[in-house]
Symmetry: C2
Subunit: 435 residues, 2 copies
C-alpha cells in the first residue's frame, strides 16, 4: 500500500503537523555560493573565453568560439518543421492560446490633465532585451520555453535571448521548435551559472540583457540571486505543489491522477487533497494504490507522496477555505460542483483550476495562462509570470506654470519640514509672484 | 570655485569616463551579513524578548513589553492635529494628490469566455498585511510614509504596519501625523534588522506581514535581502540620482538648484546635467559657485557634486537621448521647450519631469506620483512603487466539459513529449469519447 500522510483538522496538534508538512526553506549553501561567485567573477573578467572553458568543463562541449555555440534561426525553424504532425500541431495550438491569453495582460500608458493644465501619468514600455534560461538534459521542457518567451514577445521585447545547455552535445528538438514558435531571437547552447553571468554582464559575443527568467538547478538559482540588481530576475522557485479541494463527487481515479501529475515532477514536489468527506479520502487512497504501479515515474511519485503528500479531512467549507488561504498554494484545484461560489473567498493562489474538468495538466501546457507560478506560499505576495513582468513604467509629471506655482507652495513647506532647503528653493523658483 | 566634473561626448575616452561616473555597486559586506543573520535568527527564536533586547541596546529605549513600543491611533491623530496650520494643510494636500494619482493604478480582475464555455482570466486581490519601514532620527521623512503607505491602502491592504525606531526616545511628530493621514493601522517604535525580522516572521506581539517596503540603512537593506522569499520586498535602493537635460534656455540658477536638491541628500547622491550648449554649462557652473555658500547643507552638496556630479556637453538631441537611455536615471528632468517631442524616445527612467516648471522637488513631495523609484540604472527593468506592488494575481481556468476535452488532446501530446505521463493521463481522463 502507498504511504501518504492522513490528517484531520480536528486533531489537537493539527497546526503543528501542518507546519511540518509545509516546511520548506531554500538552502543557503555557502560553498555553492562561493563557487558561483567565482564563476560570475571569471565570466565578468574573461568573457567569451571563460564561457568556452566552463562549457567544455561542465557540459563536455568544446568550441573554438562562442559563435559556434549559437543556434541559427534556420536551425530552429528546421527543428519545428521536422516535428511529427501531432506534435507540431499541439505545440502550435499551445503557443497560440498562450499568446492570446497573455495579450489581455498588456498594459498601456495612461495620463490625465488637471484643470490648471498639469499632466500626470505613466509611460509603459517593454524591456529592451531579456534572457531566458532553459535547463538541458532530462528536465528540458518545451512548454517552459513557450511560457517564458511568449509573454516577453507580447510585451514587445525586441530581443529575447535563450540559453540552453547541451550536455555531451544532446540537443532537444522540441525545445528548439518551441523557441522558433515563441519568436526567440538568439539561442546559445550554454548553461549553468556561466550562462547567467554572461547574460547579466555580457561578453564579447553574448549580449547583456535587462532581465533573466526561467527555471534552473541550484547553480542557476544561486547565480540569479547574485546578479539580481544588475539585472531583473523572476522569482526563485521552490518545489512545485498542488492543493486539491474536492467535495467527494469527482471520480477518485481522476483526483488520484491529478495528485500523481504533481508528484511525478520530483521527490520534493507536494500534492495535498482536502475534503469534508472522509470516505472519499479513503477512496482516493485506494485509487492511488491501484494506479501507482501503472505509472512510468512511480518511484518518484511514491517518494513525493510519502515524503510531502497529505490527505486532509476538514469539517466544512469554511475550514477548507481557511486552509487554502493559509497554504497559498501554487496550484489550487477546486474539484467541486460550484467553484464560482468559492472564488471570491480565495485570497491566495498562483492559479485556480475550477471544476471537475480542469486538471492542472491543462494549465501546464495549453489552456493559456502561465505555468510559471509563485511557490511555497509566495502567492501571498506574488503573481504568475506575465506580460507585466516584461514591461516597466516611468512616471510622467508635466506641470503647467500655474500648477507648478501651486505645488511649489506645498513642496516648500514639506521640504523645509524635512530640513531639505535646496529642495524647497528649487520648488520656490517656480512660484509665480502673487499680484 | 566648486569642483564638478566636465565631460564631452566627443572626447576619446568618453565611454570610459562615463562608466567611471556611473559605477556604483552595493557592497556585499560579509561581517554585516553575519550580524544581520544572527539578529534574524534570534528574533525568529525568541520573538518579543529579542526585539526588546535589541531595541534597548541599539536605540537606548527600554520597555517591559513590546506593547509598550506601540503608538496608539489616538496618538497619531493627536500628532496630526498638533501640527501648525501650514504643515497640516501641506501634508493633507500631498496625501490627497498621492491618493488620487495612485487610484488610477488600481488593477481589476478580468476574465473572458471562449465559444466552448471555457473561462480564463485573472483574479486580482490585495495583500493581506504589509510592513512599512521608516528610518528614525535625521533621515526620518514624513513624505516617505505617505509614498509607501498610501499605495498599499489604495490597493485595499487591510492592515498596514509601520516600524519606526525612536533612537534615545526621539519621536518625529510629522512622521506620526503622516502615518495618521495615510491610514497606517499599527505603529511600533522599533527599527533596524530586528524590525525587519519581526515583520517577516512575526513575534508574540508583532504580526507577520506579507511584504516589507521602505528605505533604511545598511542593516535594514541587508535584512530585507535576507528575508526575501519569506516575504516580498521592494527594490533595495542605491543612492538617489537626477539627470537633467536642458536646452540652455532655463534660468541657470533654477537648474543649479535642481542639481543641489539632489546633491543635498547625501555624499553618494548623483546629479548630472547634459546640454548641447557649452556656454550654458559654464553659466550653470557659475550659478553653482554662487549658490553653494547659501545652502544649509553645503558641505554634503559640495561633496556629492565633486565626487559624483557631472556637466556633460553633447553634440545634439540624438546624443542626449542615447545618453539618457544608457543611464536609465531614477529622476529625469527634461528642461526643454517641447518635452513632449522627446517623450516617445525615452525608454528608461524612473520618473520624467517635463518642462522648465517641473523640478524634481515637486514630485518628491506632492505632485502625486511616487517618489520611490528605481535607482542605479534599474529603471531598465523596474518601475516606481505603486498600487500594483500591493496587489497580486491568481490565474483563473474554468474548463467546460467540451473545452477540457479539446485541451486534453493537446496537453496529452505535449506531456508525453516531455515524458510526464501522469500529466497526460490526468488530462486524458477529461476527454469525451468520440461518437
Amino acid at each position: 500500500m502507498m504511504t501518504i500522510r492522513r490528517m484531520n483538522s480536528q486533531s489537537a496538534n493539527f497546526e503543528q503537523e501542518l507546519n511540518q508538512l509545509l516546511a520548506w526553506e531554500s538552502v543557503n549553501d555557502h560553498n555553492l555560493q562561493q563557487t558561483v561567485l567565482d564563476i560570475i567573477a571569471r565570466v565578468r573578467q574573461a568573457g567569451d573565453s571563460a564561457v568556452l572553458d566552463y562549457t567544455q568543463r561542465f557540459d563536455q562541449v568544446s568550441a573554438s568560439h562562442v559563435t559556434n555555440l549559437m543556434i541559427q534561426p534556420a536551425q530552429l525553424a528546421a527543428a519545428y518543421h521536422q516535428l511529427t504532425e501531432d506534435k507540431r500541431s499541439a505545440l502550435a495550438t499551445a503557443a497560440e492560446r498562450i499568446r492570446h491569453y497573455h495579450s489581455k495582460q498588456k498594459q498601456e500608458s495612461w495620463q490625465y490633465r488637471e484643470v490648471d493644465g498639469t499632466v500626470l501619468g505613466q509611460q509603459i514600455t517593454p524591456l529592451d532585451r531579456v534572457g531566458i534560461y532553459v535547463p538541458g538534459g532530462k528536465a528540458s521542457y518545451p512548454s517552459s520555453v513557450l511560457m517564458n518567451a511568449i509573454p516577453a514577445k507580447v510585451a514587445g521585447v525586441p530581443e529575447v535571448i535563450m540559453c540552453v545547455p547541451t550536455p555531451r552535445g544532446e540537443v532537444n528538438n522540441l525545445v528548439l521548435a518551441a523557441a522558433h514558435l515563441a519568436g526567440v531571437d538568439k539561442v546559445f547552447t550554454i548553461g549553468g551559472a556561466q550562462a547567467v553571468a554572461a547574460l547579466a554582464y555580457g561578453t564579447q559575443t553574448i549580449p547583456k540583457v535587462d532581465k533573466i527568467v526561467g527555471p534552473g538547478n541550484s547553480y542557476v538559482a544561486t547565480a540569479k540571486r547574485l546578479v539580481f540588481g544588475q539585472v531583473g530576475i523572476d522569482m526563485i522557485a521552490g518545489p512545485s505543489e498542488i492543493l486539491i479541494y474536492c467535495d467527494g463527487k469527482t471520480h477518485p481515479d481522476w483526483i488520484a491522477m491529478d495528485l500523481f501529475s504533481q508528484a511525478e515532477h520530483d521527490e520534493e514536489a507536494q500534492a495535498i487533497l482536502i475534503s469534508e468527506d472522509a470516505a472519499y479520502l479513503d477512496a482516493v487512497q485506494q485509487s492511488l494504490d491501484k494506479l501507482l504501479p501503472t505509472l512510468e515515474r512511480a518511484v518518484i511519485a511514491r517518494a513525493s507522496l510519502a515524503g510531502r503528500g497529505a490527505l486532509i479531512h476538514v469539517q466544512n467549507e469554511v475550514e477548507a477555505i481557511a486552509l487554502i488561504n493559509r497554504i497559498a498554494p501554487e496550484h489550487l484545484e477546486l474539484s467541486v460542483e460550484n467553484p464560482e461560489a468559492l472564488l471570491p473567498h480565495i485570497r491566495h493562489a498562483g492559479a485556480i483550476f475550477m471544476g471537475r474538468y480542469t486538471p492542472e495538466a491543462l494549465g501546464d501546457y495549453c489552456a493559456g495562462p502561465n505555468h510559471v507560478l509563485p511557490t511555497s506560499g509566495t502567492a501571498r505576495f506574488s503573481s504568475p509570470l506575465g506580460v507585466y513582468d516584461f514591461q516597466k513604467r516611468s512616471s510622467i509629471i508635466y506641470c503647467s506654470a500655474q500648477g507648478a506655482s501651486h505645488l511649489a507652495e506645498v513642496a516648500s513647506v514639506l521640504a523645509r519640514g524635512e530640513s531639505l532647503t535646496a529642495h524647497a528653493r528649487s520648488a520656490e523658483y517656480r512660484m509665480i509672484a502673487e499680484e
